[in-house]
């Protein structure tokens, strides 16, 4: 900077004013001088003029006095008159000399004066003195003489003229002088104005100069500041002022401010930069790395290390988390304790330590080319809530300036908080992760548990099944062993009885043969004779009777023979002869045989044969007849009143199972039903056993061998068919014989197949079916389990719906309760606690489905009872409302039976199974 003379604004302004004042002063002095000289000149002129006037006047007066005094003296001769003369003669000369002196600069006037003097002196010489002398001398003549000429007068006249010209000359002179003065005066005035203008000009120039110099710098400063303001933070710019005044100082001060602002700006920008960089970092090592690299970059540090406080096994350690410019991971110690070394000291003292005397063995900073010793080290503790939570060490090859140190200081001020929050966040993330892991683990475990429970359930189920099977087997085994025991006993008994039986049998048979054949013989012979009616003494009817008796007797004989053959039947040794049978004859034959019995017992005997029954049917006629007769005679035997009906039908193709079709295309179903005593269900099986009747009482009451049904059953089997029984005690019985038309006789395989058929056709029956296929049995059993005995409440106001539902569901073993509206359903629910499921229509009078469901769910607390709402298909709103009211499921109208049953299965199946 040039050491310029300091010239402040104040001095500038003062100087300006002084210059102006001086100018004014000079002007005033000059003017004053001028005015004074003018005045003097004027005074001189006035004085001179007056003096000259006075002197001339005096001289003139003196002369005139002298003249008058001369004259007076002359006239009077009185000497007293001469006195003025003398005085004047003495005095005028002084005045004249005086005047002469006055005119020393005016030779022309002097000339004139001299002329006047000469004239005066001439007068005195020629006129005055002589006359006076004359008078004194009383020389009157001379006087007269003199006055005759009177030269004096001429002189006086001349003198007067001379004075006159003198005076006018003098006047002219004065006039000229005055004129000169006037001129001078006007010159002075114009001079005054000139000075005024000059001074004004000077003042303006000075004022302009000063203000210019002040304003210019201020404007410069202002512009610079404005530019800084406009460029927003271009604090690099400085104000340059050439003048050396207060503005310069202002500029200097502003520059200083700018500098500090720039520093602050730098600090803030860098801090903001650094802060921005480590935002969003969630790991402490990443944070440390970012922080270190940023700070090192900003402070031009060449080495750096970042240590974070950790508590390891109750020991507070600072552990290295990041390094800067450290190629191999060897930079510095990996951890230190508080107070350990300078860095530990830094942590202990909680203040920044700065070193510029670096020990010889401090680590060298490496570049690609060389290794250098750092110049400065900065150890910075990062404090959070009064605790040092991290320490940063920085080293540089140059030196950390104040600004960089300040940066570090400021950066770490809030960094503690950041570290803490990052640590906190890491902890939170860790905990969250842990909790997530735990949640997942829980889910996994719960799923595993579910799987396990399912497995367990399956195992339990398996176990249960196995158990059941075992139990069953045990039971079976038990029962078998019992049976065995029983069988053993029975065997023993039978063995005993067998002997007896065989004895009985042979005895019986012998008896029969004997007892029956004997009367039969006579009956046969006699009836034959009667029938012949050789004497013609019998009516036709009686002859007919005789024929019947004869044919019955023959049948009886045949039966007796058959009884003998029963053992053969059971051993399968009975010969079957399949032949054409004219089905049209059957009704007549049966009519013939049983009409008398019917008449005798006063029973109606109805025979109906369907039209579609084939005419020619292939079977063993003898056995077929025997079965029919057996069944019919049984029917008549056990019927006290009412009727016995024989129905012959051909089975339609639809009724035939595939197995049946394989055997034959034509099947007959001959049913013998009665209105007799009937057979209790538990005896159904029994009556087909040999030598059995429903109970002992029957034997006593009705007699008979009990052989008939047994033989029928065996014969039916041999004919490829079977007999089924439908009967209830007191309700009459209905035996149905189902047999195929077998033109080619019967084979073993067919027999087996037919055994299966028996099952299919007689699902509802218990009688003859001994071997049912396992699967089918299970299905029906479960089906029965699901539906059987379940109480279903149907709530609907439409009778047709109710009827349809009721029929369909009752058919599957469900018990149906019916309510016609919601209110009724509630009443039923209150009265009956065993409802398993409700089918609830929505649109109903009195109380609709929603209300009813709400009451059942909320007031009756029946939360688990399945309620299936029956909704109209298109109305989603209905469905939602139904669900809200507490429906377990819904099903759309019109109902599809399959769907309804599916839903019922879903809701009736026990949850645990």
């Amino acid at each position: 900077m040039l050491n310029r003379l300091k010239l402040g604004i104040r001095s500038k302004i003062t100087l300006g004013y002084i210059v102006i004042i001086l100018c004014l002063l000079a002007a005033i002095i000059i003017l004053n001088h001028q005015i004074t000289s003018l005045q003097e000149e004027r005074n001189y002129i006035i004085k001179y003029d007056a003096k000259v006037q006075e002197l001339t006047n005096n001289i003139e007066k003196y002369i005139l006095d002298m003249e008058s005094s001369q004259r007076a003296f002359i006239i009077t001769g009185e000497p007293s008159y001469l006195e003025p003369y003398d005085n004047a003669a003495k005095s005028w000369k002084t005045d004249f000399n005086d005047l002469y002196l006055q005119l020393k600069e005016k030779p022309t006037q002097r000339e004139k004066l001299k002329e006047i003097e000469e004239t005066i002196e001439h007068w005195i010489e020629t006129s005055g003195n002589p006359t006076i002398q004359f008078t004194k001398d009383n020389d009157t003549a001379a006087l007269n003489e003199f006055f005759k000429v009177d030269n004096g007068r001429q002189d006086i006249e001349k003198m007067r003229n001379l004075f006159e010209s003198f005076r006018s000359a003098e006047n002219n002179y004065t006039q000229a002088k005055a004129h000169q003065l006037d001129k001078k005066n006007s010159q002075l005035t114009s001079g005054l104005f000139g000075i005024l203008i000059v001074i004004s000009t000077i003042s303006i120039i000075i004022a302009n100069g000063i203000s210019q110099s002040i304003v210019k710098t201020i404007t410069e400063v202002m512009q610079t500041i404005q530019e800084i303001a406009v460029t927003k933070g271009n604090f690099k710019r400085r104000i340059h002022v050439k003048t050396n005044d207060e503005v310069n100082e202002l500029a200097d001060a502003t520059n200083l401010l700018l500098e500090s602002v720039e520093k602050r700006e730098w600090l803030q920008t860098n801090i903001a930069d650094i802060v921005k960089k480590y935002q969003g970092i969630s790991a402490i090592s990443g944070l440390a790395e970012t922080f270190l690299s940023e700070v090192a970059q900003k402070t031009e540090a060449s080495l750096g290390a970042f240590y974070v406080r950790e508590e390891i096994e109750d020991q507070v350690l600072f552990v290295k988390k990041a390094t800067f410019a450290d190629g191999d991971d060897l930079l510095g110690i990996n951890s230190f304790k508080i107070g350990q070394g300078l860095i530990g000291q830094c942590a202990l003292e909680k203040r920044i330590l700065f070193y510029d005397n670096i020990p010889q063995n401090y680590r060298l900073i490496r570049t690609g080319l060389a290794e250098m010793r750092p110049q400065n080290i900065l150890l910075v503790p990062i404090i959070f809530e009064g605790e040092v939570i991290a320490v940063v060490e920085l080293a540089t090859m140059t030196s950390f300036n104040d600004l960089q140190q300040e940066l570090v200081k400021q950066v770490i001020e809030n960094f503690g908080l950041t570290i803490n929050s990052v640590l906190g966040r890491m902890e939170i993330v860790r905990l969250l992760n842990e909790s997530r892991a735990m949640t997942e683990e829980l889910q996994v475990q719960s799923e595993e548990l579910q799987t396990q429970s399912e497995e367990l359930q399956m195992q339990t189920e398996e176990l249960t099944i196995i158990n059941e099977q075992l139990e069953e087997r045990t039971k079976e085994a038990e029962s078998k062993s019992k049976e065995l025991e029983k069988a053993k006993k029975e065997l023993e008994e039978t063995a005993e009885q067998l002997i007896l039986n065989s004895n009985y049998k042979s005895e019986f048979l012998a008896n029969m043969s004997h007892e029956l054949r004997t009367p039969l013989n006579s009956i046969l012979i006699l009836s034959e004779m009667l029938a012949e009616n050789s004497h013609n003494n019998l009516t036709d009817e009686e002859a007919e009777f005789a024929k019947v008796i004869h044919s019955s007797g023959e049948d009886l004989l045949a039966l007796i023979n058959d009884i003998l053959d029963l053992s053969k039947v059971e051993a399968g040794k009975l010969d079957m002869i399949f032949n054409e049978v004219n089905m049209n004859e059957i009704p007549t034959q049966m009519e013939h045989t049983f009409a008398p019995v019917a008449i005798k017992k006063n029973l109606a005997f109805l025979i109906s044969k369907a039209n579609d029954v084939v005419d020619i049917f292939y079977t063993d006629e003898k056995r077929f007849h025997q079965i029919l007769k057996n069944l019919l005679s049984n029917a008549f035997k056990f019927t006290e009143s009412g009727s016995v009906t024989l129905t012959i039908q051909q089975l339609t193709q639809q009724q035939l199972t595939s197995n049946m079709q394989e055997v034959s295309a034509d099947w007959l179903e001959i049913t013998v039903s009665d209105t007799g005593i009937g057979i209790p269900k538990n005896k159904h099986q029994l009556i087909f056993e040999s030598f059995q009747q429903a109970d002992g009482a029957t034997v006593r009451k009705y007699g008979g061998t009990g052989l008939g049904l047994s033989i029928c059953k065996e014969f039916a089997k041999l004919l490829g068919g079977w007999i089924t029984l439908q009967s209830e005690e007191g309700q009459g019985s209905s035996f149905t014989l189902t047999i195929p038309s077998l033109p080619n006789g019967i084979e073993e395989e067919q027999c087996q197949k037919l055994a299966m058929n028996e099952v299919a056709v007689t699902v509802e029956e218990v009688a003859l079916i001994e071997e049912q296929p396992q699967e089918k049995e299970e299905v029906s059993q479960h089906e029965v389990e699901v539906f059987q005995g379940k109480n279903i409440l149907i709530v609907d106001d439409d009778h047709r719906n109710i009827y349809a539902l009721k029929t369909a569901l009752e058919k599957r073993g469900m018990n149906i309760l019916v309510a016609k509206d919601g209110l009724e359903s509630i009443e039923i629910m209150q009265a009956n606690h065993n409802v398993d499921l409700i089918l609830m229509d929505i649109m109903m009078p009195i109380m609709d489905g929603y209300e009813a469901m709400t009451i059942i769910r909320q007031q009756m607390k029946q939360t688990d009872l399945p309620i299936i709402a029956l909704t109209a298909k298109a109305m989603k709103n209905d469905r939602d409302k139904a669900l809200q009211a507490g429906a377990s499921d819904y099903i759309s109208k019109p109902l599809n039976l399959d769907q309804l049953l599916s839903v019922l299965r879903v809701w009736l199946v026990s949850k645990g199974s």
Binding site: V444, V779, D889, S902, R905, V906, V909, K911, S913
Partner: protein, 284 residues
């Protein structure tokens, strides 16, 4: 020091167990190609212990021996490892939200590809099929249902579910905003509910292993619910990457209710559509 002894022993034991499990998993991988090495260890070890308990095997090494020599046992163990807990309309609110928030976006696609990763016995696949049918999208949709366990896939293909679960499924269906009667979709017998085969029309069941197999298409929706919980975090990240790459732009990823993307790297590429239901949408 004396007190430290048992602890160290325990650690030693744990190490041994770890080694045993690692060897076992390695063997399983080599023998069957199923890679459980990165599965959640605690779960896997529980499964192993469970099997050990059932079969009365004293050590994992014996299990290893059995696995190597007894093919049936290996199959059994593999079956044990795959947990197939699922139900129809599981977490009904998920399906409800799916109906409300995802379906509208799918309507614009001429063809919708959905990947059911880890479909197990297929309950959720059928649920999705029902949902799509009700929304009128079934004709355009193709559901690829995959699982690594072929046995369960066989079950899934049949669409037969135990009848005693149907009550719960019905409830779920209704809570999920079902538009019809649930019974319209199945028939029953005393034991099972049989879902209509028409539902199967646009479903492809295929064996796929998330751990070892690559993506096989680009999908508009990926459902991978309660599958990743069995994986280790690393494996989860890997699979998330796989799923991300298999999604089309603006595609939807659906996770199980206990799973979250929050800690996964890929989260930045997804927008949360329904956070509580774990439905995410891939960003552009």
């Amino acid at each position: 020091m004396e007190q430290m002894q048992p602890l160290e022993q325990k650690i030693q034991l744990d190490k041994q167990t770890k080694l045993e499990i690692e060897l076992l998993l390695e063997a399983i991988y080599r023998l069957s190609g199923f890679d459980f090495r990165q599965y959640n260890r605690s779960s896997i070890s529980r499964r192993i212990y469970n099997r050990m308990k059932i079969n009365n095997i004293p050590t994992i090494s014996r299990v290893l021996e059995k696995v190597i020599h007894d093919k049936a046992f290996l199959e059994q163990l593999l079956n044990d490892f795959s947990i197939n807990v699922t139900e129809m309309f599981r977490n009904p609110s998920f399906f409800k939200t799916f109906r409300e928030k995802v379906i509208p976006s799918l309507r614009d696609y001429p063809e919708i590809r959905i990947w059911h990763a880890g479909c197990a016995t297929g309950e959720e696949v059928y649920s999705m099929a029902i949902l799509l049918q009700e929304e009128g999208l079934m004709e355009r949709a193709m559901i690829y249902a995959t699982d690594m366990n072929e046995q369960v896939l066989e079950k899934a293909k049949k669409g037969i579910f135990p009848i005693h679960k149907m009550q719960a499924y019905t409830k779920n269906y209704m809570l999920a905003g079902g538009a019809h009667a649930f019974s319209e979709y199945y028939k029953t017998d005393y034991q099972y509910a049989y879902f209509h085969p028409t539902l199967l029309k646009n479903i492809i069941f295929a064996q796929h292993n998330l751990v070892t197999d690559q993506s096989f298409n680009e999908f508009h929706v990926i459902l991978c619910r309660n599958v990743l919980i069995y994986f280790s975090p690393q494996l989860q990240s890997y699979v998330h990457q796989l799923l991300y790459e298999s999604l089309s732009d603006q595609g939807f990823l659906c996770l199980g209710d206990k799973e979250t993307l929050r800690f996964e790297e890929v989260i930045s590429n997804y927008a949360e559509i329904a956070c509580n239901e774990r439905i995410y949408q891939k960003k552009h």
